[in-house]
């Protein structure tokens, strides 16, 4: 993966510089956005609704004018290039298929605008419908299509004129969950087959992880993190990103004690609400300015109260628990810390017994108000 901050040998296809946009003066929707997209890359803009991701797409496409900043496409400033003259495609959330045109006419629209010959238009339209597995649908009315089929037509229509950059605004947002999961892989396959550079907006992290080469997390008009999916997942750049990805165990950490005399083999010690923690166990250096400890939900294991174990051992009182198939999600409150701390963990629904067999954890084991001891695996913790 390329590091977007490093100067790359090849100039990026799209470069957004210091972009600012406010619909209402004083309430910016985009604040100082910098973004680079390399040719052939699929970049997901991920964030909650209202974070500015759709506005960013619209500004890049030329549907909105930025208040400040530059958009460079293939090295050329797009300021005075009107929407229809930009080499970009756009797929709208609710598809915006032309209701007065058939499926084929919808797909052919961009080709006709490009002035292609009738034969070329017909051939390319058929090819695109084939690509999205809708071969032979050309004559149909768009009203006769299911939601998933409309989505495919919209994709075919925006890909047909071979735009250099395709923008997709919540392309799966209008579909139900099952269909969405099915189409996530499909969309990536098609985009990669065509080799188009894509900017893909979604609020669904699962969708972002399965489609993107790189994820750009946005929040309140700013970019919070710009990194490959694995990096975003393993090292969320901020408390916002961590919470947005669904992580709930975020604990404040006190500044590292100034124990400079201690030997350097052990890492600095961290003061957490759960007690002291060796930063070395988490994995090396403490990022400067780190203020939060993220404990992943799968970090906890039930242990016998007396067992001497490495890492962090906490005694808790069980709260609500709910069955999730492969695991139980349990809510616990610590019992042996100065202040009670509420935590959420996913514990396996089966546990290994001394006889080597797996036995199901029974609801009785997870009765409310039971005292339990949990060992937390430091390798599943991150400092933010």
């Amino acid at each position: 993966m390329t590091d977007p901050s490093a100067p790359s040998a090849v100039a990026p296809l799209l470069q957004v510089e210091k972009l600012t946009k406010a619909y209402v003066p004083g309430e910016p929707v985009l604040r100082d956005i910098n973004l680079a997209v390399a040719s052939g890359e699929i970049v997901c803009l991920l964030g909650p609704s209202g974070c500015g991701k759709t506005t960013l797409l619209r500004v890049i496409a030329g549907l909105e004018e930025p208040d400040a900043g530059r958009i460079l496409y293939a090295g050329a400033d797009q300021r005075n290039v009107s929407v229809h003259a930009r080499d970009m495609g756009f797929m709208f959330q609710d598809y915006a298929l032309f209701p007065h045109k058939s499926v084929g006419e919808n797909v052919a629209f961009g080709l006709r605008m490009a002035g292609q010959s009738r034969q070329a238009v017909r051939a390319r339209t058929a090819e695109m419908l084939e690509l999205v597995a809708l071969g032979g649908y050309g004559e149909r009315s768009v009203f006769d299509l299911s939601g998933g089929e409309r989505q495919r037509v919209a994709l075919a229509r925006s890909l047909a004129p071979s735009p250099g950059l395709l923008m997709l605004d919540e392309p799966l947002g209008a579909l139900d969950r099952t269909l969405r999961e099915e189409l996530m892989g499909e969309v990536r396959r098609i985009l990669k087959a065509v080799g188009v550079t894509a900017l893909y907006v979604t609020h669904d992290q699962e969708e972002a992880f399965s489609v993107a080469d790189r994820i750009v997390v946005m929040h309140a008009g700013r970019i919070e993190q710009d990194a490959p999916p694995q990096v975003v997942h393993d090292h969320p750049a901020s408390a916002f990103v961590a919470r947005f990805l669904g992580f709930q165990n975020l604990l404040p950490i006190a500044t590292v004690p100034a124990d400079d005399s201690a030997d350097s083999s052990a890492g600095p010690m961290l003061e957490t609400p759960l007690g002291p923690l060796d930063a070395a166990a988490i994995g090396g250096a403490v990022p400067s300015g780190a203020r939060l400890l993220l404990i992943r939900p799968e970090a906890a294991r039930f242990v016998a109260a007396s067992a001497p174990l490495p890492g962090m051992v906490i005694r808790c009182v069980l709260g609500d628990s709910s069955y999730r198939g492969s695991h139980y999600r349990i809510r616990v409150t610590t019992a042996d810390t100065p202040e009670p701390v509420a935590l959420v963990f996913d514990v396996p629904a089966y546990r290994l017994h001394p006889d080597g067999r797996r036995r199901p954890v029974t609801p009785g084991d997870l009765a409310r108000n039971r005292q339990v001891t949990l060992a937390l695996d430091p390798s599943l913790m991150t400092l933010l």
Binding site: A61, L63, F98, G110, M113, A114
Partner: protein, 554 residues
């Protein structure tokens, strides 16, 4: 945006504003000036004398109470029909509903002529009764009474109630009534405590519209009421044309303008409330099919009666136009339309009026489409503080009376007041607000993403308009065009004042023929009215054919 667009767009948008300023606001200003200011000084004493007179207050009083009575009669007939259309499904429902709309699109002179044909001294009912009971004198003498005015007003406006209230009613969620029933309300309380309060905004808005139409009624009162009755509108015409008292006419116009403006403002507010999406349901779910034969029979009888009452005058009109006199079925009156014998009251053969009307209507349609559609695009833009005042301005002519407009032209247009083009201009002012109100909802419901999609796919602005706006809004434009055409064909008040004697329109000829004695004149009036009725009826068929759902107010 390119420089060309930056200049061209405001110019385009200025077009309707300039038109309004020259052909609407300026004539109104002249009326104001003539009312208050002449010979270099303010003339408030003559206005004061008029306003202090009993004649003035009697005029206001009559205009108001006949409008109230007409509205009450219209509601009495219209509400039960609205209920039937809203809550029951039956075969041919859409055809029956379209038939009830016929009277609304009929020109006032046609309705007046039709009422004389049915209820006049030599009307069908009197002729039949005389034959049946062997009477010497016609037993029914409704012409020149208040009753025929009220009947004609109800006849005209019943479809307003059926469309507005019935449409709203059919979208009411039946679960609300079901919930009240489950909570223990009997049918009467259910109606009073649930249905009526929910319907109230739509009933109020529709009633106010009917009241407004009756308050400014002209042709019906002038032709059917005779010399005894005058609404403000009729009196403005008499003062201006018969008595040549322009200041008095101008002052009455001003009074009427103020009153109608207040009513229009109120109507717009009520209309906004009535169009609140009250958890509406599609009509398919709210209407039920009647099961028992008795209930079906009752429904059929009620609707049959209503249709008979609504269509009888029009059918009689056509029938009398070929049977008037003692010669059996004859086309003599139609043939006479082409002649201009010396004894005729006309300056030109009446048939020329058909050509005039069609030409004026065509010009009106083009002009009001152009201005109305530009206005609609202007109004559909995102509302800013700078443009918020535009909508009331554009809809202002809707509340202004046609006679006032005609009077304004006579006062303001100087040497142009006999110009041929003044008639389509006057018609355009009356028709364009209808074009705006028909086209604007369709334009507003056009998804802006369709245009953005076309642009992103490489279509330049003009191409976007041709590929997206034109095909999608074509039907709405067609409906608007038909409205404009029909309105121009039937327009009476302004035409009476601005057409030249040698270029009359069909309604003007019909009025002239109706107000002269003699069977030939009357027969020609009936024949010409029948022609006008058929053209208006054809227009209605076009409108119904291309109407998209219930978009638009009319």
């Amino acid at each position: 945006m390119t420089t060309a667009r930056r200049i061209a767009l405001p110019l385009l948008y200025a077009l309707p504003l300039v038109f309004l300023a020259v052909f609407f606001l300026y004539p109104l200003a002249r009326i104001l000036q003539v009312s208050f200011y002449a010979d270099g000084r303010w003339m408030l004493d003559s206005v004061g004398r008029l306003t202090g007179s009993r004649y003035f207050w009697r005029l206001i009083w009559f205009t108001t109470w006949q409008a109230v009575a007409s509205t009450a009669l219209t509601l009495t007939v219209g509400l039960p029909l609205a209920y039937l259309f809203a809550r029951y499904d039956f075969r041919g429902k859409s055809v029956v509903r379209a038939l009830t709309t016929i009277p609304f699109v009929m020109p006032t002179v046609v309705v007046a002529a039709a009422f004389t044909a049915l209820l006049g001294r030599t009307g069908l009912i009197n002729v039949l009764l005389q034959q049946l009971l062997d009477l010497e004198q016609p037993p029914i003498a409704l012409l020149g009474t208040i009753w025929i005015i009220l009947l004609a007003h109800a006849f005209f406006n019943v479809s307003v109630i059926i469309r507005a209230v019935g449409g709203f009613w059919s979208n009411l969620n039946p679960s609300l009534e079901e919930a009240a029933a489950v909570l223990g309300a009997n049918r009467a309380r259910l109606f009073w405590e649930v249905t009526l309060p929910l319907l109230w905004p739509s009933i109020a808005a529709a009633s106010l519209l009917v009241f407004l139409f009756c308050f400014t009624s002209f042709g019906v009162v002038l032709i059917l009421g005779g010399a005894r009755f005058a609404t403000l509108e009729v009196e403005i015409y008499r003062q201006a044309v018969s008595l040549f008292d322009l200041p008095a006419a101008a002052w009455l116009s001003l009074v009427q303008m103020i009153l109608t403006f207040i009513m229009m403002t109120l109507y717009t507010r009520l209309q906004a409330r009535a169009s609140l999406p009250l958890e509406s349901r599609s009509q398919a779910r709210t209407a039920v099919t009647l099961r028992t034969p008795m209930a079906r029979l009752f429904l059929a009888l009620t609707l049959g009666m209503a249709l008979l009452l609504l269509l009888a005058p029009l059918i009689t009109l056509a029938w009398r136009s070929i049977t008037l006199g003692d010669n059996g079925v004859t086309l003599a009156y139609y043939r006479a339309l082409a002649d201009n014998p010396r004894q005729s009251a006309f300056f030109v053969p009446p048939i020329v009026a058909v050509r005039n009307s069609l030409l004026f209507a065509a010009a009106t349609t083009l002009l009001s489409l152009l201005l109305g559609i530009i206005s609609a695009y202007l109004l559909a833009r995102p509302r800013t503080r700078r443009t918020a005042w535009l909508e009331p301005i554009f809809l202002l002519p809707l509340g202004t009376s046609a006679v006032t407009l005609g009077l304004g032209y006579i006062l303001a247009m100087g040497p142009w007041r006999t110009a041929l083009w003044l008639t389509p201009v006057a018609h355009t002012l009356i028709a364009a607000p209808f074009v705006v109100r028909t086209f604007l909802p369709a334009l507003r419901s056009l998804d802006p993403r369709l245009r953005e999609s076309a642009a992103v796919l490489g279509a330049p602005p003009l191409r976007v308009w041709l590929e997206v706006d034109v095909p999608i809004l074509f039907r709405a434009a067609l409906v608007a065009a038909t409205f404009a055409f029909t309105i121009s064909l039937g327009e009476f008040g302004a035409s009476l004042l601005v057409t030249r004697p040698d270029t009359p329109t069909m309604p003007v000829i019909i009025y002239r023929a109706l107000s002269r004695p003699g069977q030939l004149n009357y027969g020609q009036a009936l024949a010409m009215s029948t022609v006008l009725m058929i053209v208006a009826g054809l227009s209605l068929i076009l409108i119904e054919r291309f109407r998209i759902g219930d978009i638009g107010e009319f």
